[in-house]
């Protein structure tokens, strides 16, 4: 559970997370936007289906895998938000060719 300091400034970028409209700050990564939106977990694992959330925020742990604009298994902590971006949390194995 994270919140923004008053320093954070304007939330000017509109994205959707699982279809729900969310405002993010320009310069946020998708993973930061997920935390700011209060998303508890961003995926469930392919092996046991347990929930996971971003863990390292620097591109090494691959816990923050989400589907961004239809492309699955993207590292949310490495992708900056962009206006109109559609982010979907993932359940288990990623379907291909949808």
């Amino acid at each position: 559970m994270f919140q923004r300091l008053p320093d954070a400034g304007d939330l000017a970028v509109a994205i959707t997370i699982d279809g729900k409209p969310v405002k993010a700050r320009a310069g946020d990564t998708v993973a930061a936007a997920l935390f700011a939106a209060g998303i508890d977990h961003c995926r469930t694992t392919p092996v046991s289906g347990t929930p996971r959330a971003p863990y390292c925020m620097m591109g090494v742990c691959f816990e923050c895998l989400v589907t961004i604009d239809g492309v699955g298994n993207r590292q949310a902590c490495l992708v900056p938000v962009q206006e109109g971006m559609s982010v979907e949390t993932q359940r288990g194995k990623r379907e291909i060719g949808r």
Binding site: D7, M58, F62
Partner: protein, 475 residues
């Protein structure tokens, strides 16, 4: 800033990573007139230590501290240089012929460099405790990145646990920002502290000594620090609800928690270096794999150097100097007639380096994490990607597996997308302990490219080089 389609077919020097080492290396190479490119995975320069330095929303300078803002000058110098900067770029392969595979924004390509300087820095040492995969548990580094890049701080009940300078720095920054920390659970091992004392006199002259001491005292004044913590566990049903631990006098304590930030030091990020076959050794002080490098970061692979914490942990100030040394070697090799006044001044660099590396052994020993936090037992998860437990790994030794590469064939441990970054050291030490041999004999995963996943489409769309294609189509 360049996109992948502006990546050229070849360069004099390719630098990987835009932390302090990569920035100074690329700046110096470009200043000497070498065609230089810097690939960085993050959207903005600075590495993790100076993360988001050009765009952080944290306006109050006192929150992050002067040592953070210092990084701005490295970025300024780099931006003023003629080096090509490719952000958001994942380098997924490097061959011994120094062919580099790189992707940005879903497009991949291959490029060639005469010299490669790997400046991929450090990552946090795995902290495999029960429950470390629960949402609500993350690394202290992750917490700091959220602060630097997004002015985001934890709310609710917040615990920091572990040992090492970064844990204290984050606590200090959080307190400066007005965050309430419920407690710091200090796992610094008594044995490590005693082993460190003989090196304390040297550390008294380290620039880190006064800073570290002041910072620690400031944190201790403002929040509760519980020393001698063992038996740390994160508990909860599908998310963190409480943290359990044992105190120095043996009491079992449970604290409700919404966020647990873990840290027990940093280790070199070796994946790219190992994938190109660079020789590494096991470091008994830092308890990790460290590439074997010469005084300029040169490695066992011709034309490939490593600068910064990726060549062994020594911190940001040392990284800055080591970047210049790697650049110096590249310039001397590629442009031996470069004027002295353009070359980095080696004597000055060596002096500065000696100063910041003084007493390093004290820090290494003092913050050496206890075995129980490095080598888990039972059903504690070791491999987060494939959800493999410590006991499963121990059991493969009985099947005849002598190292990680045999073990992984049975368990898929280390074969998930993180490619062993979060389990490699744990597996090496766990198998070493089980077999009763030194970690050096166990070895590490054989790491192969792509060192980061790429899509089949990216690979299929690699620009065709007819000569290369002919060379491989034989049967």
């Amino acid at each position: 800033m360049s996109a992948v389609n502006e990546v050229r077919d070849s360069y004099d020097v390719a630098v990987v990573g835009a932390g302090p080492a990569g920035l100074t290396a690329a700046t110096a190479c470009a200043a000497a007139g070498l065609a230089t490119v810097l690939f960085d995975e993050q959207p903005a320069p600075g590495g993790q230590i100076y993360r988001a330095i050009t765009q952080t929303p944290v306006q109050r300078a006192s929150i992050l501290g002067n040592d953070y803002w210092y990084g701005a000058r490295l970025v300024r110098d780099f931006q003023a240089s003629r080096a090509q900067y490719v952000p958001g770029a994942t380098v997924w392969s490097l061959s011994r012929e120094r062919e580099i595979g790189v992707s940005t924004g879903g497009a991949a390509r291959l490029t060639q460099a005469k010299r490669v300087i790997i400046a991929t820095g450090a990552l946090e040492r795995p902290f495999p405790i029960p429950g470390w995969t629960l949402p609500g548990v993350m690394t202290a580094g992750a917490g700091q990145i959220l602060l630097k890049s997004g002015a985001m701080v934890p709310q609710g009940r917040t615990l920091l646990a572990g040992c090492g300078p970064l844990l204290w720095l984050l606590a200090w920054q959080y307190l400066n920002a007005g965050v309430k920390i419920d407690a710091i659970l200090d796992t610094t091992a008594r044995a490590s502290r005693s082993a460190a004392w003989p090196h304390a006199p040297a550390f008294l002259f380290s620039p880190y000594f006064r800073k570290g001491l002041r910072l620690m005292l400031s944190v201790r004044r403002r929040t509760k620090v519980i020393a001698g913590v063992t038996g740390l566990r994160a508990e909860g049903n599908s998310r963190l609800q409480q943290v359990a631990y044992r105190t120095a006098d043996g009491a079992e304590i449970r604290l409700p928690a919404d966020t647990l930030l873990l840290h027990q030091g940093v280790v070199p990020n070796v994946n790219l270096a190992m994938s190109v076959g660079i020789e590494h050794r096991w470091d008994d002080d830092q308890l990790c794999w460290v590439p074997v490098v010469d005084g300029y970061g040169g490695t066992s692979v011709d034309g490939v150097a490593i600068a910064g914490d990726g060549a062994g942990i020594a911190g940001a100030w040392a990284a800055e100097e080591r970047g210049k040394l790697a650049a110096l070697a590249a310039i001397r090799a590629l442009k031996p007639d470069t004027r002295q006044d353009i070359l980095p001044d080696e004597a000055n660099i060596r002096l500065a380096l000696a100063k910041v590396e003084r007493g390093r052994l004290f820090l290494d020993r003092y913050y050496q994490p206890a075995a129980s936090f490095r080598i888990p037992r039972g059903d504690t998860i070791v491999c987060r990607c494939e959800e493999v437990t410590a006991q499963q790994i121990i059991d493969t030794v009985a099947l005849g597996c002598t190292g990680p590469n045999q073990m992984k064939s049975f368990l898929r441990c280390g074969m998930g997308p993180c490619q062993g970054r979060l389990c490699g050291l744990t597996v090496t030490e766990l198998m070493a302990q089980t077999r009763g041999v030194p970690p050096a004999e166990i070895g590490h995963y054989r790491l192969r490219p792509p060192v980061k996943p790429i899509t089949l489409g990216e690979l299929a769309a690699l620009p065709k080089d007819e000569a290369a294609i002919k060379a491989v189509v034989r049967g």
